[in-house]
């Protein structure tokens, strides 16, 4: 079932697909960040695929890598009833093109990634923090953000900040 996706995407994009994996029966492509928007459009508009539903955008942080972040997209096709995943690797402070032009869902999902990981999205119309407040410092889902650090520091614990578990 996912073979058709694999064939069509490989035929269309060729060596722009940096890697293709299929673990646990889940198809995933790794692409360069310039390929995200064309690939997403192709997956959505191709009549044999029709991945019209943007299910999720998220990221993972691998601090030891040269490009520490992976931004991960999940698309779903109502016709194939299949998910497809594609990812892009970016370094710290490097931006990723937005998908808000293709899907309205991307607006909030990208804001969440920006909020919790600090990955900026190029061309996003409203890139603000979404879950945390605007004055918050840091991005909690990065691996180097301490787990138990309390912000804001209140007056009662200002002199004796709580123990920080790394």
């Amino acid at each position: 079932m996912s073979n058709i996706t694999r064939e069509r995407v490989t035929a269309q994009f060729g060596d722009k697909i940096l890697a293709t994996t299929e673990h646990f029966g889940e198809l995933a492509f790794v692409v360069d960040k310039s390929t995200i928007v064309p690939l997403a459009r192709f997956l959505r508009d191709d009549t044999a695929l029709k991945y019209v539903h943007l299910s999720d955008i998220t990221a993972t942080d691998w601090p030891e890598r040269e490009k520490r972040f992976e931004v991960i997209y999940h698309l779903y096709s109502y016709d194939l009833t299949e998910y497809v995943r594609f990812k892009v690797h970016v370094a710290d402070k490097e931006s990723v093109p937005t998908l808000t032009g293709e899907w309205d869902t991307a607006n909030w999902l990208e804001r969440e990634v920006f909020d919790l990981f600090g990955i900026p999205f190029d061309g996003h119309p409203d890139l603000r923090r979404i879950l945390l407040w605007d004055e918050f410092e840091g991005h909690p889902l990065r691996k180097d953000y301490p787990l138990t650090y309390e912000t804001p520091q209140f007056t009662y614990n200002k002199d004796q900040p709580p123990e920080v578990i790394k």
Binding site: Y78, Y83, W103, D104, T105, W108, L116, I130
Partner: protein
């Protein structure tokens, strides 16, 4: 004549925002011209906390996201970890999971119906649905000891066997609920006020709904016949016979009809599950990964050792990543889990249906009256615990 728009904060402590949703509305008179939902007041960092917990210790946190549908959240997480491990729950556990997630669906939809009706003026509905909900919470309590945060599903099966008085309680639900649903319909479906407040309110086209990532009953009310339980069956759903209700109108009334019919379909599934409940183990027998049952741990030395090792050290799933989605009462609930081979998830991402659905709120309400905003928020069916996580 001077025309000036007015900005109104609806929430975060407004009783009709179902928790702590804040909606910043720009009004021209009583007509909404701009609507910006603000979320995050209930952010608890569950995804961050999960990275520092053993796999099985994450399960109680999943309850606390969508606290009206705890078992659906448990199920999604357990299925994701089971996929990572290559473990399959035994038939009895799968059927019990189906039964209990359908009870969860009833639970969630009942609270939705009561609060939605309360928001737009039908106060008595809340009292009726909470009467019925009591029967469901009694089942929760019987199986797990808890009425809300059940944490009943485990990786590889269930916490404990179903209790002996489980069947009569479920039979009572099957027997009494259809009559109750008829009562609700008598109160609401042809009620003039209810129809005035819901028919033609909050319309979103099929294309817009897909573009906005809307899933679940709202999408089905827009005419998309799609249900993950049917098209990507998990936990033996393929063995059950049920229909997917759809509507074309895509307004608040259509969503009400879809959810009411879904509750009737849930009863059908519950009936089939209780009639055909298989015998056998409630936990898979996979040493080193799935906890042994209490009896085994007390009477077999190897089981005791495995139990000790699992509780103290946990298990090491293979490296990799999985994305598992289920049809929760609110829509498509997804778990994306990345394993680096350690005993704790390297990353756990929850794809929250309420979060995505409420992001499309402005499309439902712009151009309509302020009072319709309340009806629209209600019809989207959000739980802020899940939106903010």
């Amino acid at each position: 004549m001077q025309t000036e728009t007015m900005t109104v904060n609806l929430g975060p402590q407004h009783p009709a925002t179902h928790g702590v949703l804040r909606v910043v509305l720009e009004l021209d008179g009583e007509v909404v011209i701009k609507c910006t939902p603000e979320v995050g007041y209930l952010h608890t960092g569950i995804e961050k906390t999960a990275e520092a917990k053993l796999y099985y210790k994450v399960i109680p946190m999943t309850d606390r996201m969508d606290y009206l549908a705890p078992m659906s959240n448990n199920l999604g997480y357990c299925l994701a970890v089971e996929k990572l491990l290559g473990v399959e729950a035994p038939p009895k556990a799968q059927w019990a999971r189906v039964l209990l997630t359908e009870i969860t669906r009833l639970n969630s939809h009942l609270v939705w119906l009561g609060t939605h009706a309360l928001d737009i003026g039908a106060m008595s509905m809340l009292l009726y649905v909470f009467r019925e909900r009591e029967d469901l919470l009694t089942i929760y309590e019987a199986v797990s000891g808890q009425r809300m945060m059940s944490t009943y599903f485990r990786i590889g099966g269930l916490t404990d066997d179903l209790p002996s008085d489980f069947e009569p309680m479920v039979r009572k639900v099957i027997r009494t609920f259809p009559v109750r649903f008829d009562e609700y319909e008598n109160i609401l479906t042809n009620n003039r006020i209810w129809r005035n407040r819901t028919v033609g309110v909050g319309v979103i086209s099929k294309e817009e709904a897909i573009k906005s990532g809307i899933t679940g009953p709202i999408l089905r009310a827009a005419g998309v016949k799609h249900d993950l339980r049917k098209v990507r069956p998990y936990s033996s759903y393929e063995k059950f016979d049920f229909d997917i209700p759809t509507q074309e109108a895509s307004d608040c009334f259509a969503r009400y009809q879809v959810r009411l019919e879904e509750m009737r379909q849930s009863l059908r599934i519950i009936q089939q599950a209780i009639d055909g409940m298989p015998e056998g183990r409630y936990l898979a027998r996979v040493p080193g990964v799935v906890r042994p049952t209490k009896e085994e741990a007390l009477f077999q030395m190897e089981a005791m050792i495995y139990h000790f090792k699992l509780v103290t050290e946990g298990f090491h799933p293979p490296k990799g990543e999985v994305y598992v989605t289920i049809e929760s009462p609110k829509g498509e609930l997804g778990y994306y889990i990345v394993s680096d081979g350690g005993t704790m998830p390297y990353r756990m991402r929850v794809r929250p249906p309420s979060f995505v659905n409420i992001s499309a709120l402005s499309k439902l309400v712009v151009g309509r009256l302020l009072a319709d905003v309340i009806a629209c928020i209600g019809s989207v069916d959000i739980v802020l615990g899940e939106v903010d996580r």
